[in-house]
Amino acid sequence: MRRVNLRKVSSTLALVMAGAVLAACGGGGGGSTTPTATSTSPPPPPPPPPPSATTWQPGVFAAASTFKDQCANPRTGVDIENRPFPDQAGSLAEELFWLRSWTNETYLWNDEVIDRDPNTFNDRIAYFDVLKTDVIEPSGEERDDFHFSQTTEAFLESRNSVGNPGYGVEYGILQGAPPRDIRIAYTEAGSPAESLIGGEVALSRGVKILEINGQDVVNGFTTDPEIDDLLELLFPSANGLTRSFRVQDIDGTIRTFDLVTEDIVNEPIQSTGVITVGADKIGYVAFTTFSPFASEEAIIDAIQDMSDQNVTDLVLDLRYNGGGLLAVAAQLGYMIAGPAQSNGKDFERFIYNDDAGNRNPVDGSLNTPFPFINEVIKFDDASSLVEGAPLPSLDLNRVFILSTDDTCSASEAVINGLRGIDVEVILIGDTTCGKPYGFFPTDNCGITYYTIQFQGANDKGFGDFADGFFPSNANNTFGVSVPGCQVADDFTKPLGDETEDMLAAALQYRIDGTCPSISTPVTNFVASKTGPLSIAPSVRNERYYLQNVRDMSMPK
């Protein structure tokens, strides 16, 4: 209703302004030389119509709300969340002008977008694709490589999916193109991957996938349609599918077996433990996602356990953690640092575009930083947590963080947030993905658009880590150097094993501040239903694209 009124207001304003313009010019056709009514001359041509809302005037932007939900093909009924579609009859031009104004109002780098005439475009996605900065960073990377869209139907389906069909594995893609090397990074407890076959666990960390359903995963699947087939085999889309596997264990043993797909529950905590070195107790927590609401309870429980065991150091394994809820990241930051170091400090500040002032330009709310959160939020209403209950804390002044290029977004916010209050972060592994940015997915007329709208910064105001954080002994030209050691992911050992290369390096560094000799960095694209996959970079079908950008790290 309000949007209709805005349109009317806009139209009325246009008429009033047109009238004012006409009045200022002396009326609509009158004048001292105007022929008399008896003249036989043909009437003068009518004046040009006033600029309409969808007439492009460079640098002049109507409010995005003027065009919101004015659709060339309005949807009717309700969406899968039972919300009525807000669409009203409109036009492609209005959709394009909404994109233009919305970008101008909310895009982080709005002053770097070339203002192109929307009326020269006949496709909303094509227009959206150019509504971004073209700046190339000194590293050679695009400043904005996270700009994308998808159908709102697909967006809603993905976030409301009840089922999560799969085998219960996270893949590590050591080589995406043939000859492929696809390993198991970890498995989910109780999943088909952990079923016992011939007295042996079917799939475990380090196992290499050779064939699925008799098809050669290593050297086959070379055309685009075949790669689609491979994706379906790796990421099954339904439950109850029987797939035959041929795999190679770490010791070279070849095995074959069948697995049946089923709904998978992703557990945020993969492994925890306490390592005793002399009188010291070192906690280890492998935390793989901040995304499900259950991640809050999982990480609180893990830190509580570390606190109960009086750990004096912590190795936080974020090597496969692509991010999620910043609030849970802020809780984790508090639980590591404790009140003395974090009280009154910001975990993450939000930087919007220069025109936003002290407001979030997306919803108009005050721009309020996230503090280090010291109490239970209770995201999961069904959890046993008590809202507002104080969180445990380890009160550490340093933390070892295990990282790969899949360590992204909210995970990087933990690194940056702790560095912002001078908690020493020691980075063991590889360069993080470099995503200090965020967005608010926004639907208009059936497309959900993702455009970068904020950058996160820590209590010191620092947030420039678009090229990632890297261990200080790595030979990186760009990025933010953090004390620590470059170490390749070690697929030959279980997570949490003291001899696994990354954890072992952390333990060594803790003792004497030295690193093991640099092992060859492995391009460690971790892939799963929630991770990126580098199969063939040239492929850009929708499914491939979505699977690759799921943690926002792949489009780099």
């Binding site: 993905s158 901040f290 999620g324 809820l325 910043l326 995201f379 809202e387 992204c408 995503k435 929630t530």
Partner: protein
């Protein structure tokens, strides 16, 4: 503490606007029927300027805290600022209200009877 402070703000604001206002006390719903909950959702959504909200799982005939849960994260939302929004329910005379715990905004709930807890 935040909750108590917000409730106080709401109550002070309420008292300042009404002379001899009846005492306001924490409340829960009398009727937890689907129809009442739908009415409640509509009014809370309007208070938040939204088309639709999803409420938490608490039994609002027993609890005086109403939670609006954020939608689950999409698979590409890895830097999400999502947070639940909480309201405190209270009754003042014959009227039932919800106070936004963050903003302190007070919303009268129409045709939603509640009782003191």
């Amino acid at each position: 503490m935040i909750r108590a402070a917000t409730l106080c703000i709401g109550l002070v604001m309420s008292a300042s606007c009404q002379s001899a206002a009846p005492a306001a006390v924490p409340a829960s719903l009398i009727d937890g029927s689907t129809e009442t909950i739908e009415t409640l959702k509509t009014q809370i959504a309007a208070a938040l300027g939204r088309d639709h909200v999803t409420l938490g799982q608490a039994d609002l005939t027993q609890s005086s805290t109403l939670t609006v849960v954020p939608p689950p994260l999409g698979p590409m939302e890895k830097n999400s600022t999502a947070m639940p929004i909480r309201f405190d329910l209270f009754v003042e005379g014959d009227n039932c209200y919800a106070i936004n715990r963050v903003t302190g905004e007070k919303t009268e709930l129409i045709d939603i009877p509640c009782r003191a807890v």
